[in-house]
């Protein structure tokens, strides 16, 4: 990957934003120029040489399975992110993991994956991963660490581990939990703390209030006909996002089309897919939750038409009515910016509507219990103890609090008070550098572990390669801590399941079956429904106090922040009202909370709703930006208490006015060569709740700085300018065939007697998650070009997801009538391809099955084809973008050519997969069947929006899709007759709430 050089913030100057950066050498000096010319002349004189001699390296001892070196082998495993498992198949070629596919049998994957799982391959092979045990700034060894630990363990034995603390992220691994329990038994005074920057503390507290115990919600959207999200972006790539997206698609395809109403502060994927969305600040949303609860009688009172009911807008009454009508078949989901009270109320609403156990399941959660003290187990409590010198050994597993702890916790400062801090992590990050010991962690694909998926399905994390560096698993470290014996992680994991299954005779068989499947066959918690009613019955009574003591959200939450979070009166006096905003901290669609910052694929992946790459921004509504007199690219300073950060503004249509959303995970100081210094760090503004957990929102004061920042956006224009690039049809008109031009053509028709490959993309199913882009990047060896090159429009993605905003002003402010539309655009493989006519060397030609092929070894780089392509899907290697290091070669797909500088490239319909399927079929003496070829984008899509196949076969899925009346051709007037066509998006006018009054 090319190192992503950031463009520094530019002083305000004559250059307009988006004008880009000048091309070429910055300031060619005469001598340097002459030197380069002499060097190139000398190189030209030496001429070309033949290919380098290659060696064939067979096995010394062939594995039992007799694995062919050129055949991929798939291992069922899991990618663990934020504590929860995503079931995947790891494709290995010659023993090297090269690609991730979803595990079709896993209930939370169903064959699809998210962008992070796809990018985990690049993470595994990241050259910046930690490679050695570090003691301070010196390279050390595991043996030295063990000796140091043995000396400390003697001390734990004497005082029961009083000074020993373990800090982890969210943990679902049964083995890790068992080991933590064993450690706690061994050293009774040791404490476990949990820190996850994205952990929704309010949801946990709210669920505790509702159930008396920690539970997490799991929505069964396939059973829901009506879904209401309150700042909960269910379709986002979160622990359950893949399954939610698939279920929601199923619910929308069903006889009675499911409806989705989204309330959002910052635009999200759920809002883009919604039948109607409202932009609201968290405070307004809190008030809405209370009104809804009252209207539905979920707060203990009878559903009476009281005073507040009369004030409610008409659409709100209608929303409540529709929810009541869909009782038992609807779901209300609350998100992280809501307060604990609101979360409890939403549970009550779902209980009142009879959704619990049907569309909303409550799954038991294992979290550090607050039984020792009110604030035990949190990061704030740990930092407090550290400052007081109560902690002498702190073991941090896979967390990075020196970077991602809220600013007010001042964790890095507290860390200096700890004599022996140990950090186990994939990278020697900010925390690893501040610790006495940094230990490299084995990647998920390098060592054994286990984890639960969000729905409770357990799975074994199976390694696909031996550790590349000195990494060890957390299980090894905890085993060492508890017993002073270093046992392999495999033993720890097997011990857990040996005890859990309690059937020694059939253990081996069950273990092998679990490995083969990628999950452990048991009744998963989420699919039998559990018995949440027993807990909820207590809620129905009025003794819960649900209706009392609820303050408006942001007042309660931001007001209770500790340590100078609220602006002081003097600030408030000097700052105009427009400058006081509510900042909400949101996970970034590409780097999550910062752990993925060093991943070039993710950094260059356009963020779905802003199309930004290599950056985050302070997102705000156009009205807010107008009031502040700033525009996209203006740098503002945001202050909360003592902390101040500067951030470039991005004006985001559809954002709630009065709020600014700040994506987390940027401004890393020790992420690696790719992630360092990209974007701004929003954590310093973050406050903590009284228990010391990070808050999702803060009050900030904003001022202009006069500076400008250059964004690298993958798409500058989001208006369709009145054209029907993305067609939208009404639900009742969805069966009416779209008008088709079918203009005459001068070109003679060509027959394709064997196969005629084609693709259909359902824009009603597409949620704009970008998984296809990154899956294609992994499959087809697509290079990363860096921010400057993206700013020049040279990104290399073979399939891009275009974003359009179809704007119509709403009648009331806040009621957005604007639609957000997504459109994945790969090469269209036109029958009459304009690119082929202009190539002077015949490098782009049709093949016998209608593929528009690009022959790299013929291409001389004129770029005529790209200029003549109406869809702008051809990508040119302006420089040697493809990295040629050993690590880059290790994760490259061996079935796809790595393109060199000066060569045009584009989507091939995953030619290598067609070839493989063809050869396998022909060897068996049969023809290819529908489903034999699954392109990378088709395989990864959570909603199965992309269908690929043979259009000559009338029974194939793609032929059936193309027969739909919604089928249309992009830029049909260009008469290129593409093989890729689209299914129009469906709008459901009857679903709109404010239209009913006429």
């Amino acid at each position: 990957m090319a190192a992503g050089k950031t463009i520094p913030i530019l002083p305000a100057g004559p250059r307009a934003p988006g004008e880009g950066v000048p091309d070429g050498l910055p300031d060619p000096r005469r001598r340097a120029m002459l030197g380069l010319m002499a060097a190139s002349a000398a190189l030209a004189g030496t001429g070309c040489s033949g290919p380098p001699a290659e060696a064939i390296v067979p096995y010394a001892h062939m594995p039992e399975a007799g694995i062919a070196p050129a055949e991929p082998v798939f291992y069922a495993s899991a990618v663990v992110r934020n504590g929860y498992a995503h079931g995947v198949l790891v494709e290995t070629n010659g023993g090297r993991p090269t690609k991730i596919e979803g595990n079709p049998g896993h209930p939370m994957s169903l064959g699809a994956t998210d962008v992070f799982a796809q990018a985990s391959i690049l993470q595994l092979w990241d050259p910046d991963r930690s490679r050695a045990v570090m003691r301070g700034n010196d390279i050390s060894s595991w043996e030295a660490f063990r000796q140091d630990l043995t000396a400390r363990r003697a001390g734990f034995g004497r005082d029961g581990g009083r000074g020993l603390r373990v800090l982890t992220g969210t943990v679902s691994s049964p083995t890790l939990l068992r080991q933590l329990d064993a450690l706690a038994r061994r050293y009774p005074r040791m404490q476990w703390h949990r820190h996850d920057p994205l952990h929704d503390a309010a949801a946990e507290t709210g669920a505790r209030r509702a159930f008396g115990t920690a539970v997490r919600p799991m929505y069964r959207l396939d059973r829901a006909r009506l879904v209401v999200t309150l700042d909960a972006d269910l379709l986002r790539h979160d622990a359950a996002g893949i399954r939610y997206a698939r279920d929601f698609r199923r619910a929308r395809r069903g006889g009675e089309r499911a409806r989705l109403y989204a309330f959002e502060t910052a635009p999200g994927l759920a809002g883009a897919a919604a039948d109607q969305r409202w932009a609201m600040t968290p405070a307004e949303m809190e008030a809405l939750v209370r009104r809804l609860a009252r209207a539905l009688g979920a707060n203990g009172d009878p559903p009476a038409a009281d005073a507040s009911q009369a004030q409610a807008a008409a659409w709100e009454t209608r929303l409540a009515r529709r929810l009541r009508d869909a009782a038992g078949r609807c779901a209300v989901a609350a998100g992280p910016t809501l307060s604990a009270e609101a979360h409890a109320l939403v549970w009550a609403i779902n209980a009142r509507l009879g959704n619990l156990g049907r569309t909303v399941l409550a799954l038991p959660d294992r979290v550090p219990e607050p039984d020792i003290g009110a604030a035990a187990g949190t990061l704030g409590a740990l930092a407090e103890d550290m400052r007081q010198g109560k902690v002498d050994t702190l073991v941090m597993i896979d967390v990075n609090p020196a970077y991602d702890a809220p600013g007010v916790a001042r964790f890095e400062e507290a860390l200096r008070q700890v004599p022996c801090a140990v950090h186990l992590g994939l990278y020697r990050d900010e925390t690893g550098r501040a610790c006495a010991w940094h230990l490299p962690r084995a990647h998920d694909f390098e060592d054994w572990s286990d984890a639960l998926a969000w729905d409770g399905t357990a799975g074994i994390v199976q390694p696909a390669i031996a550790p590349l560096y000195e990494g060890r698993s957390p299980h090894v470290l905890l085993g060492l801590l508890a017993d002073d014996v270093e046992r392999p992680a495999h033993d720890h994991v097997q011990a857990t399941w040996r005890a859990a299954w309690n059937a020694p005779a059939e253990f081996d068989a069950r273990w092998r079956e679990s490995l083969r499947q990628g999950y452990i066959r048991a009744r998963p918690l989420a699919h039998d429904g559990g018995d949440p009613e027993s807990g909820m019955t207590r809620m129905a009574g009025s003794d819960t106090g649900m209706d009392t003591g609820i303050d408006t959200g942001i007042g309660t939450r931001a007001g209770s922040q500790s340590a100078g979070e609220a602006p002081s009166p003097s600030d408030a006096a000097s700052a105009p009202d427009a400058a006081r905003l509510v900042a909400i901290f949101v996970p970034d669609p590409s780097v999550n909370a910062g752990a993925w910052a060093n991943n070039g694929w993710l950094q260059e992946l356009p963020r779905p709703l802003s199309q930004l790459t290599w950056d985050n921004a302070a997102f705000m509504a156009p009205a807010t930006a107008r009031a502040l007199d700033v525009g996209t690219g203006d740098v503002i300073a945001l202050a909360a208490g003592d902390a101040e950060i500067s951030a470039p503004v991005f004006v985001m249509p559809g954002h709630a006015a009065g709020a600014v959303s700040l994506p987390l995970g940027y401004g890393r100081r020790a992420a690696g060569r790719v992630g360092d210094g990209v974007g701004f760090d929003a954590y310093p503004l973050q406050g903590v709740d009284p228990r010391g957990q990070p808050l999702p929102a803060a009050r900030v004061v904003v001022r202009r700085t006069g500076q400008r920042h250059a964004f690298a956006s993958a798409q500058a224009e989001t208006s369709m300018h009145g054209r029907d690039l993305v067609r939208v049809v009404d639900l009742d008109a969805a069966d009416v065939p779209q008008p088709s031009l079918d203009p005459p053509s001068l070109y003679p028709p060509v027959a394709y007697p064997d196969h005629a490959w084609g693709m259909s993309i359902d824009l009603d199913a597409c949620i704009g998650c970008n998984a296809c882009t990154i899956a294609c990047q992994a499959e087809n060896n697509i290079p990363v070009v860096g921010k400057e090159e993206v700013a020049r429009g040279r990104e290399m993605h073979w399939i891009r997801v275009d974003l359009y905003r179809d704007g119509r002003a709403g009648r009331e402010p806040g009621q957005e009538r604007e639609r957000t539309l997504f459109q994945p655009v790969p090469c269209m493989h036109c029958e009459d391809a304009p690119c082929e006519l202009v190539c002077p060397v015949g490098a782009t030609v049709h093949d016998s099955e209608g593929l528009n092929a690009q022959v790299y070894n013929r291409c001389v780089g004129t770029r005529f084809c790209s200029n003549n392509c109406p869809y702008k899907v051809r990508r040119f290697n302006f420089f040697q973008y493809a990295e040629e290091s050993e690590l880059a070669a290790a994760h490259a797909n061996p079935d796809v050519t790595v393109r060199r500088r000066g060569v045009m490239e584009k989507c091939t319909y995953c030619l290598q997969r067609i070839s493989r399927a063809r050869i396998e079929a022909r060897k068996q003496g049969r023809d290819m069947r529908d489903g034999d070829v699954v392109t990378a984008c088709e395989a990864v899509c959570p909603t199965q929006a992309i269908v690929f196949g043979d259009t000559n076969d009338p029974g194939s899925r793609v032929s059936r899709a193309k027969r739909s009346p919604r089928d249309y051709t992009l830029l049909e007037e260009a008469n290129t007759r593409p093989r890729t066509t689209y299914l129009a998006r469906i709008a459901d006018p009857a679903a709109r709430l404010e239209d009913e009054d006429g």
Binding site: G47, C48, S49, G50, P51, A53, E54, A55, I56, V57, P58, Y59, A60, H61, M62, G66, A68, P69, A70, E71, P753, D754, V845, D847, S848, E849, L851, A853, V855, Y856, N857, D895, V896, T897, V898, T908, L911, Q912, I914, S915, I919, R922, K923, G925
Partner: protein, 216 residues
């Protein structure tokens, strides 16, 4: 009137013109030589162990698939692991100094490094298994290895050679049971061709000669 160019200047011009002509000719010659070199037939390379196909195939009659185990299932024909060599050589010629690298490899687990003789460019994707399944005999491309004490590249590995066969596969293939036989290809009668065509159901010429068949 004196000559505009004196003799020295004329000579100079002639030499420059000659020099240009020689340079162009030399460039063309070098380019032609370089383009042919990597794929020329009749080339051989030295190996870490002086392995003789003539001895193993010709004298001992070992089937190709005994060592090239994945030729029927995979794109790569597969090279024998050290363990496969040792299935005989743990007993036969055990103390031969020529086999020392083999024993070292088996003991240390470090693979042998054979030098590649049949090397296709990286943008060409050749698959052994489909060729074998469609009746292309080993000897068609690799020659009579049973007569080669040291392996010699039998064919020019250029695209013209590939296309000659892809344009008329039915004339170059043999019956399925003769694929691994070491014998010179037999001339096919028209009847044979008709039978083989029915048997293998070759794809159309346009398919077999599409760029995408071999290049991805």
């Amino acid at each position: 009137m004196a000559q505009v160019f004196d003799n020295a200047a004329t000579l100079c011009v002639k030499l420059v013109l000659l020099g240009i002509a020689v340079f162009v000719a030399a460039t063309i010659a070098i380019v032609a030589w370089q383009m042919n070199a990597p794929v020329a037939a009749g080339v051989t390379v030295d190996q870490p162990i002086p392995f003789s196909h003539r001895h193993h195939v010709g004298d001992d009659g070992i089937d190709c698939r005994y060592c090239h185990t994945t030729v029927e299932t995979s794109a790569s024909a597969g090279m024998p692991s050290s363990q496969i060599c040792l299935s005989c050589h743990s007993v036969l010629f055990r103390d031969s100094p020529a086999l020392a690298p083999l024993h070292a490899s088996a003991e240390s687990g470090t693979p042998l490094r054979w030098n590649r003789l049949y090397d296709l460019p990286d943008f060409v994707f050749f698959n052994h298994s489909i060729h074998v399944a469609k009746g292309v005999a080993c000897a068609t491309c690799h020659g009579r290895v049973d007569q080669m004490p040291q392996l010699v590249r039998h064919e020019r590995l250029d695209m013209q050679w590939c296309l000659d066969c892809h344009r008329a596969p039915d004339r170059r293939v043999g019956p399925p049971d003769q694929v691994f036989a070491m014998r010179d290809p037999r001339a096919l009668s028209d009847e044979d061709v008709a039978v083989l065509r029915r048997l293998y159901r070759f794809e159309s010429e346009s398919r077999m000669t599409s760029c995408t068949t071999c290049h991805r």
